[in-house]
Symmetry: C2
Amino acid sequence: MSPAHDLEENLAFTPKFDANGLMTAVVTDAKSGDVLMVAHMNEEALRKTIATGEAWYFSRSRKALWKKGETSGHVQHVVELRVDCDQDAVWLRVDQQGAGACHTGRRSCFYRAVPLGKSGAAALEFRDADKTFDPDLAYKPKL
Amino acid sequence: MSPAHDLEENLAFTPKFDANGLMTAVVTDAKSGDVLMVAHMNEEALRKTIATGEAWYFSRSRKALWKKGETSGHVQHVVELRVDCDQDAVWLRVDQQGAGACHTGRRSCFYRAVPLGKSGAAALEFRDADKTFDPDLAYKPKL
Protein backbone atom coordinates (compact mmCIF):
# COMPACT_ATOMS: atom_id res chain seq x y z
CA MET A 1 0.00 0.00 0.00
CA SER A 2 1.12 3.57 -0.65
CA PRO A 3 2.21 5.89 2.17
CA ALA A 4 -0.88 8.03 1.46
CA HIS A 5 -3.13 4.99 1.84
CA ASP A 6 -1.45 4.09 5.16
CA LEU A 7 -1.85 7.65 6.46
CA GLU A 8 -5.53 7.60 5.60
CA GLU A 9 -6.56 4.06 6.53
CA ASN A 10 -4.29 3.11 9.42
CA LEU A 11 -4.88 3.80 13.09
CA ALA A 12 -1.38 5.10 13.74
CA PHE A 13 -1.51 8.75 14.79
CA THR A 14 1.18 10.55 12.79
CA PRO A 15 0.17 14.24 12.83
CA LYS A 16 1.68 16.37 10.09
CA PHE A 17 2.83 19.86 10.99
CA ASP A 18 3.51 22.51 8.36
CA ALA A 19 6.77 24.34 7.62
CA ASN A 20 6.15 26.49 10.71
CA GLY A 21 5.55 23.44 12.90
CA LEU A 22 1.81 24.08 13.11
CA MET A 23 -1.45 22.35 12.24
CA THR A 24 -4.96 23.77 11.94
CA ALA A 25 -7.43 23.16 14.77
CA VAL A 26 -11.15 23.65 14.15
CA VAL A 27 -13.18 24.06 17.31
CA THR A 28 -16.92 23.43 17.45
CA ASP A 29 -19.41 23.68 20.29
CA ALA A 30 -20.28 20.08 21.25
CA LYS A 31 -23.89 21.09 21.94
CA SER A 32 -24.81 23.45 19.09
CA GLY A 33 -22.35 22.26 16.44
CA ASP A 34 -21.41 25.88 15.70
CA VAL A 35 -17.82 26.61 14.78
CA LEU A 36 -16.41 28.62 17.69
CA MET A 37 -12.93 29.34 16.36
CA VAL A 38 -10.05 28.26 14.16
CA ALA A 39 -6.66 28.11 15.84
CA HIS A 40 -3.27 26.45 15.45
CA MET A 41 -1.37 23.85 17.43
CA ASN A 42 2.28 23.00 17.54
CA GLU A 43 3.43 19.57 18.72
CA GLU A 44 3.46 20.63 22.37
CA ALA A 45 -0.04 22.16 22.25
CA LEU A 46 -1.39 18.98 20.67
CA ARG A 47 0.36 16.80 23.25
CA LYS A 48 -0.93 18.87 26.18
CA THR A 49 -4.46 18.86 24.78
CA ILE A 50 -4.44 15.07 24.42
CA ALA A 51 -2.93 14.53 27.87
CA THR A 52 -5.17 16.94 29.78
CA GLY A 53 -8.42 16.97 27.78
CA GLU A 54 -8.33 20.79 27.84
CA ALA A 55 -7.51 22.85 24.75
CA TRP A 56 -4.04 24.29 24.27
CA TYR A 57 -3.00 26.24 21.16
CA PHE A 58 0.00 28.05 19.73
CA SER A 59 -0.41 31.77 19.12
CA ARG A 60 1.15 32.76 15.80
CA SER A 61 1.13 36.47 16.71
CA ARG A 62 2.60 36.00 20.20
CA LYS A 63 4.71 32.98 19.15
CA ALA A 64 3.79 31.27 22.39
CA LEU A 65 2.02 28.20 23.72
CA TRP A 66 -1.34 29.20 25.12
CA LYS A 67 -3.93 27.46 27.23
CA LYS A 68 -7.40 28.56 26.14
CA GLY A 69 -9.05 30.36 29.04
CA GLU A 70 -5.92 30.83 31.13
CA THR A 71 -6.72 34.54 31.56
CA SER A 72 -10.47 34.68 30.96
CA GLY A 73 -11.43 31.40 32.62
CA HIS A 74 -13.15 30.42 29.36
CA VAL A 75 -11.53 26.99 29.30
CA GLN A 76 -12.48 24.42 26.64
CA HIS A 77 -13.10 20.86 27.85
CA VAL A 78 -12.52 18.58 24.86
CA VAL A 79 -15.38 16.15 24.35
CA GLU A 80 -13.84 14.58 21.27
CA LEU A 81 -10.71 15.13 19.20
CA ARG A 82 -10.64 13.94 15.62
CA VAL A 83 -7.97 14.02 12.94
CA ASP A 84 -8.59 14.34 9.22
CA CYS A 85 -7.67 11.99 6.37
CA ASP A 86 -4.18 13.35 5.73
CA GLN A 87 -3.56 14.08 9.43
CA ASP A 88 -2.77 17.78 9.03
CA ALA A 89 -5.86 19.16 10.78
CA VAL A 90 -7.76 18.35 13.95
CA TRP A 91 -11.37 18.93 14.95
CA LEU A 92 -12.12 19.57 18.61
CA ARG A 93 -15.70 19.24 19.85
CA VAL A 94 -15.63 21.18 23.09
CA ASP A 95 -17.70 22.02 26.11
CA GLN A 96 -16.98 25.77 26.15
CA GLN A 97 -16.76 27.14 29.69
CA GLY A 98 -17.78 30.73 30.40
CA ALA A 99 -19.55 33.12 28.09
CA GLY A 100 -17.65 32.58 24.88
CA ALA A 101 -14.58 31.68 22.85
CA CYS A 102 -13.88 34.89 20.93
CA HIS A 103 -11.58 37.60 22.24
CA THR A 104 -14.04 40.21 20.95
CA GLY A 105 -16.56 39.13 23.59
CA ARG A 106 -18.72 36.80 21.51
CA ARG A 107 -19.48 33.11 21.80
CA SER A 108 -18.01 32.38 18.34
CA CYS A 109 -15.39 34.17 16.24
CA PHE A 110 -17.68 33.73 13.22
CA TYR A 111 -20.23 36.49 13.89
CA ARG A 112 -20.37 38.00 10.38
CA ALA A 113 -21.73 36.53 7.15
CA VAL A 114 -20.55 37.25 3.62
CA PRO A 115 -23.55 37.76 1.29
CA LEU A 116 -23.54 35.31 -1.61
CA GLY A 117 -24.29 35.96 -5.25
CA LYS A 118 -23.12 39.55 -5.09
CA SER A 119 -20.39 40.78 -7.37
CA GLY A 120 -17.86 43.26 -6.06
CA ALA A 121 -17.38 44.21 -2.45
CA ALA A 122 -20.62 43.63 -0.57
CA ALA A 123 -20.88 44.56 3.10
CA LEU A 124 -20.76 41.83 5.74
CA GLU A 125 -23.86 41.14 7.82
CA PHE A 126 -23.82 40.51 11.56
CA ARG A 127 -25.01 37.05 12.73
CA ASP A 128 -25.29 36.09 16.41
CA ALA A 129 -23.06 39.08 17.01
CA ASP A 130 -24.31 40.24 20.41
CA LYS A 131 -21.50 40.30 22.90
CA THR A 132 -21.88 37.71 25.65
CA PHE A 133 -19.11 39.08 27.83
CA ASP A 134 -16.97 42.19 28.23
CA PRO A 135 -13.52 41.40 26.85
CA ASP A 136 -11.98 44.35 28.69
CA LEU A 137 -12.94 42.69 31.97
CA ALA A 138 -12.35 39.08 30.93
CA TYR A 139 -8.82 39.67 29.68
CA LYS A 140 -7.74 42.19 32.28
CA PRO A 141 -4.83 40.78 34.33
CA LYS A 142 -6.10 39.77 37.77
CA LEU A 143 -4.31 41.79 40.49
CA MET B 1 -10.20 53.10 16.80
CA SER B 2 -7.32 50.73 16.09
CA PRO B 3 -6.97 48.84 12.82
CA ALA B 4 -7.60 45.58 14.74
CA HIS B 5 -10.83 47.01 16.15
CA ASP B 6 -11.97 48.07 12.68
CA LEU B 7 -11.20 44.62 11.25
CA GLU B 8 -13.25 42.99 13.99
CA GLU B 9 -16.18 45.36 14.36
CA ASN B 10 -16.71 46.82 10.91
CA LEU B 11 -18.79 45.37 8.10
CA ALA B 12 -16.14 45.86 5.43
CA PHE B 13 -15.01 42.51 4.04
CA THR B 14 -11.21 42.63 3.93
CA PRO B 15 -10.08 38.98 3.84
CA LYS B 16 -6.50 38.35 4.91
CA PHE B 17 -4.50 35.78 2.97
CA ASP B 18 -1.29 34.27 4.35
CA ALA B 19 2.21 34.45 2.84
CA ASN B 20 1.16 31.81 0.29
CA GLY B 21 -1.95 33.76 -0.68
CA LEU B 22 -4.28 31.33 1.12
CA MET B 23 -6.85 31.35 3.89
CA THR B 24 -8.35 28.44 5.85
CA ALA B 25 -11.87 27.29 4.98
CA VAL B 26 -13.79 25.13 7.46
CA VAL B 27 -16.70 23.27 5.91
CA THR B 28 -19.61 21.93 7.95
CA ASP B 29 -22.72 20.03 6.94
CA ALA B 30 -25.60 22.52 7.23
CA LYS B 31 -27.91 19.76 8.47
CA SER B 32 -25.81 17.74 10.93
CA GLY B 33 -23.29 20.41 11.95
CA ASP B 34 -20.45 17.91 11.45
CA VAL B 35 -17.17 19.21 10.11
CA LEU B 36 -16.82 17.71 6.63
CA MET B 37 -13.39 19.03 5.69
CA VAL B 38 -10.79 21.74 6.08
CA ALA B 39 -9.48 23.27 2.88
CA HIS B 40 -7.82 26.42 1.60
CA MET B 41 -8.92 29.26 -0.63
CA ASN B 42 -6.92 31.77 -2.61
CA GLU B 43 -8.50 35.06 -3.65
CA GLU B 44 -9.97 33.58 -6.83
CA ALA B 45 -11.50 30.56 -5.05
CA LEU B 46 -13.11 32.87 -2.50
CA ARG B 47 -14.43 35.19 -5.21
CA LYS B 48 -15.89 32.31 -7.25
CA THR B 49 -17.49 30.79 -4.14
CA ILE B 50 -19.16 34.09 -3.26
CA ALA B 51 -20.29 34.76 -6.82
CA THR B 52 -21.67 31.26 -7.56
CA GLY B 53 -22.75 29.96 -4.15
CA GLU B 54 -20.84 26.75 -4.84
CA ALA B 55 -17.58 25.89 -3.11
CA TRP B 56 -14.25 26.44 -4.84
CA TYR B 57 -10.88 25.80 -3.20
CA PHE B 58 -7.18 25.96 -3.95
CA SER B 59 -5.27 22.69 -3.83
CA ARG B 60 -1.90 23.16 -2.14
CA SER B 61 -0.61 19.83 -3.47
CA ARG B 62 -1.75 20.39 -7.06
CA LYS B 63 -1.25 24.17 -6.88
CA ALA B 64 -4.50 24.66 -8.74
CA LEU B 65 -7.93 26.19 -8.37
CA TRP B 66 -10.47 23.44 -7.81
CA LYS B 67 -14.24 23.31 -7.85
CA LYS B 68 -15.43 20.84 -5.22
CA GLY B 69 -17.26 18.02 -6.98
CA GLU B 70 -16.05 18.83 -10.50
CA THR B 71 -15.01 15.18 -11.01
CA SER B 72 -17.13 13.29 -8.48
CA GLY B 73 -20.30 15.37 -8.79
CA HIS B 74 -20.16 15.89 -5.01
CA VAL B 75 -20.73 19.62 -5.28
CA GLN B 76 -21.19 21.79 -2.18
CA HIS B 77 -24.01 24.34 -2.24
CA VAL B 78 -23.10 27.05 0.24
CA VAL B 79 -25.96 27.81 2.63
CA GLU B 80 -24.01 30.40 4.57
CA LEU B 81 -20.48 31.81 4.44
CA ARG B 82 -19.06 33.45 7.54
CA VAL B 83 -15.74 35.12 8.25
CA ASP B 84 -13.95 35.15 11.60
CA CYS B 85 -12.93 38.06 13.81
CA ASP B 86 -9.55 38.74 12.20
CA GLN B 87 -10.81 37.82 8.71
CA ASP B 88 -8.23 35.12 7.99
CA ALA B 89 -10.59 32.12 8.05
CA VAL B 90 -14.02 31.37 6.62
CA TRP B 91 -16.71 28.92 7.69
CA LEU B 92 -18.92 27.43 4.98
CA ARG B 93 -22.17 25.74 6.00
CA VAL B 94 -22.95 23.58 2.98
CA ASP B 95 -25.58 21.35 1.52
CA GLN B 96 -23.28 18.48 0.48
CA GLN B 97 -24.39 16.85 -2.77
CA GLY B 98 -23.70 13.17 -3.36
CA ALA B 99 -22.45 10.62 -0.89
CA GLY B 100 -19.66 12.55 0.76
CA ALA B 101 -16.91 15.15 0.90
CA CYS B 102 -13.80 13.07 1.57
CA HIS B 103 -11.63 11.70 -1.22
CA THR B 104 -11.29 8.45 0.78
CA GLY B 105 -14.98 7.69 0.19
CA ARG B 106 -16.44 8.97 3.45
CA ARG B 107 -18.92 11.68 4.23
CA SER B 108 -16.39 13.59 6.37
CA CYS B 109 -12.59 13.70 6.35
CA PHE B 110 -12.68 13.43 10.16
CA TYR B 111 -13.40 9.71 10.57
CA ARG B 112 -10.84 8.92 13.28
CA ALA B 113 -10.71 10.02 16.92
CA VAL B 114 -7.61 10.58 19.04
CA PRO B 115 -8.09 9.04 22.52
CA LEU B 116 -7.71 11.62 25.30
CA GLY B 117 -5.91 11.28 28.63
CA LYS B 118 -3.42 8.77 27.28
CA SER B 119 0.28 9.42 27.45
CA GLY B 120 2.48 8.35 24.58
CA ALA B 121 1.28 7.22 21.20
CA ALA B 122 -2.24 5.78 21.50
CA ALA B 123 -3.94 4.26 18.48
CA LEU B 124 -6.65 6.23 16.68
CA GLU B 125 -10.25 4.95 16.80
CA PHE B 126 -12.58 4.91 13.80
CA ARG B 127 -15.71 7.08 14.07
CA ASP B 128 -18.41 7.16 11.36
CA ALA B 129 -15.75 5.61 9.14
CA ASP B 130 -17.91 3.44 6.88
CA LYS B 131 -17.35 4.37 3.26
CA THR B 132 -20.40 5.95 1.66
CA PHE B 133 -19.05 5.78 -1.90
CA ASP B 134 -16.29 4.14 -3.90
CA PRO B 135 -13.60 6.75 -4.53
CA ASP B 136 -12.11 4.68 -7.38
CA LEU B 137 -15.39 5.08 -9.25
CA ALA B 138 -16.21 8.63 -8.15
CA TYR B 139 -12.85 10.09 -9.13
CA LYS B 140 -12.30 8.07 -12.29
CA PRO B 141 -12.20 10.37 -15.31
CA LYS B 142 -15.46 10.04 -17.23
CA LEU B 143 -14.78 8.75 -20.76
